[in-house]
């Protein structure tokens, strides 16, 4: 009898993998192990719509009813603590043991901790729905919020906090916000939007110390400035959850190292989503780790296919988005692969920056604008990147030439 498929991690990636196994017709046992009490749910709204809602709700990827209907066993509120690779068994924190034929590690990532003393109960991180509820309770007029880190999580939360009337200060040690992966020209527009909404952004200044007395947080910057807040939200990146894999002797290289088929060094163990690093074919096999919703979704589905023997290589182009105020940003590809930039204006202040490699190949496109103004062209750019196209810079820069026409070339 089949021991079945075990998926550790019940987030976007794990949830999608479990559903995909059933969609693909797999009839053996499928077990999803998660450390939260909820069925798999979407995390992106936690820093966006859900955060400004009066009563944030879980947006389930698969409700308990759907999981039951598809005979997906969901063991919640437990940790997987050890893998016995030889016996093909996973041990859980409640003492139970799950045998597997194939195992998928979709353990995700966890907020990077601020490595300094003085943090207390008014210093928080955002990862889970419970975290979101705790933060939401503080966001209202009259409250002061300090956000440590000018990355996406911090800035989306800054936008949400302003919408709810809280006073917001963003502290960024780098010279500008969104240093990682976002061109300066676009970061500047986001910066200006925050300033126009009343956010105080402090760049180029690291934190010297934090004092949290349980009611108030006092953040002292290296430059001497002091920020007093009712809540400090720390958003300084995420680290992959790799402990279980490392303990089991799997290779860790900025995440659980997998091949193009998302397989670890053990042929029966796969890893996917935020927790893994993998070779990206479109950039000559460059090893990357992505913390992105769509990647988690696509890799969950791909891992499921490969657990059933498809032998299919990951071929997607990285893509992510962020919403702040009325602006939406989308980036396809890896902008740091580019050597030159061509700008295309789309009207209404929306524009796209095309990043070209030395040989003229399109390697990334970064767009920003109101609503979903850049979505269509970013999607077309993504297809051009996947095709390794070398579009003429004049064509990319001219609004008169449709991007779709370049795809056929």
């Amino acid at each position: 009898m089949a021991r079945g498929m075990v998926i550790v991690g019940a987030g976007e990636c794990g949830g999608r993998a479990a559903l995909a196994l059933r969609d693909l017709g797999y009839e053996g046992p499928v077990t999803l192990v998660g450390d939260e009490p909820h069925p798999p749910y979407e995390r992106p709204p936690l820093s966006k719509d859900a955060m400004v809602s009066d009563a944030p709700e879980i947006r389930a990827i698969a409700s308990d009813e759907v999981l039951a209907e598809k005979s997906i066993r969901h063991i919640h509120s437990v940790q997987a603590v050890a893998i016995d690779r030889e016996a093909h068994k996973v041990r859980l924190s409640d003492g139970s043991v799950l045998p597997y034929d194939k195992l998928l590690l979709a353990t995700g990532s966890t907020p990077r901790k601020l490595p300094m003393p003085g943090l207390g109960r008014r210093c928080v991180y955002l990862r889970t729905f419970a975290d979101a509820l705790a933060i939401r309770a503080h966001l209202r007029a009259g409250r002061r919020v300090a956000i440590v880190g000018g990355g996406f999580i911090g800035l989306e939360l800054a936008a949400a906090a302003r919408k709810l009337g809280a006073a917001v200060t963003v502290i960024e040690a780098q010279p500008r916000i969104l240093m990682r992966g976002v061109p300066a020209e676009i970061a500047e527009i986001i910066h200006d939007a925050h300033v126009a909404e009343g956010v105080d952004i402090l760049c180029c200044d690291g934190i010297a110390s934090i004092a949290d007395d349980g009611n108030e947080v006092r953040v002292t910057l290296a430059g001497g400035r002091e920020i007093v807040a009712d809540l400090a939200i720390i958003g300084i990146g995420a680290v992959p959850v790799t402990g279980l894999a490392a303990e089991a002797g799997l290779v860790i290289d900025n995440g659980i190292a997998v091949d193009a088929e998302l397989r670890t060094g053990d042929p029966d163990i796969f890893a996917a989503g935020d927790c893994c690093s993998f070779p990206l074919a479109v950039y000559g096999g460059r090893r990357v780790r992505l913390e992105a919703w769509r990647n988690a979704q696509e890799q969950g589905a791909l891992a499921a296919r490969n657990m059933l023997g498809a032998g299919e290589a990951h071929a997607a182009v990285p893509w992510f988005w962020s919403d702040q105020y009325g602006l939406s940003l989308q980036i396809a590809g890896l902008a740091d692969e580019g050597r030159s930039i061509v700008r295309r204006d789309l009207g209404d202040g929306a524009f796209i920056l095309f990043h070209l490699a030395e040989d003229g190949r399109l390697v990334a496109a970064s767009g920003i604008g109101p609503g979903n103004a850049v979505a269509r062209d970013i999607r077309l750019a993504e297809m051009l990147i996947a095709k390794r196209a070398q579009p003429a810079p004049e064509a990319l820069g001219s609004q008169a030439i449709k991007l779709k026409s370049l795809l056929a070339a």
């Binding site: 559903l19 979407e42 919703w293 979704q297 589905a301 979505a375 269509r376 999607r379």
Partner: protein, 104 residues
């Protein structure tokens, strides 16, 4: 039977493209296929209520501009994660250069 409503002129939409049409407090998406036929669906994606008119049309697929949910705009069928609920479609005809939609 409800009436046919003029949504736009046939030439307002490029081939293999989509545009938004609002009527009676509702919003729709009107499509022109690569083979020059017209179609209509509800305007908002069934995943997160994002308007599909900002999305990309490729062959007979409309892709949501936000999260890449895909639908066949001719039939309304949802084509995989993150969308699982089909789009409602509406009959369309072209008469005297106008695209008419039968809004039920």
């Amino acid at each position: 039977m409800s009436d046919w409503v003029a949504a736009c002129a046939a030439g307002d939409i490029d081939e293999e493209d989509v545009m938004r049409f609002d009527h009676g407090g509702r919003t729709f998406a009107i499509y022109r296929s690569p083979d020059d036929e017209y179609f209509a669906t509800d305007g908002l994606c069934t995943h997160e209520k994002v308007h599909l008119a900002d999305g990309l049309v490729m062959d007979d697929i409309i892709e949501c501009p936000k999260h890449n949910g895909r639908f066949n705009y001719k039939t309304g069928d949802a084509r995989g994660a993150p969308v699982c609920v089909n789009l409602r479609t509406y009959p369309v005809k072209v008469d005297a250069g106008k695209v008419l939609v039968q809004i039920g």
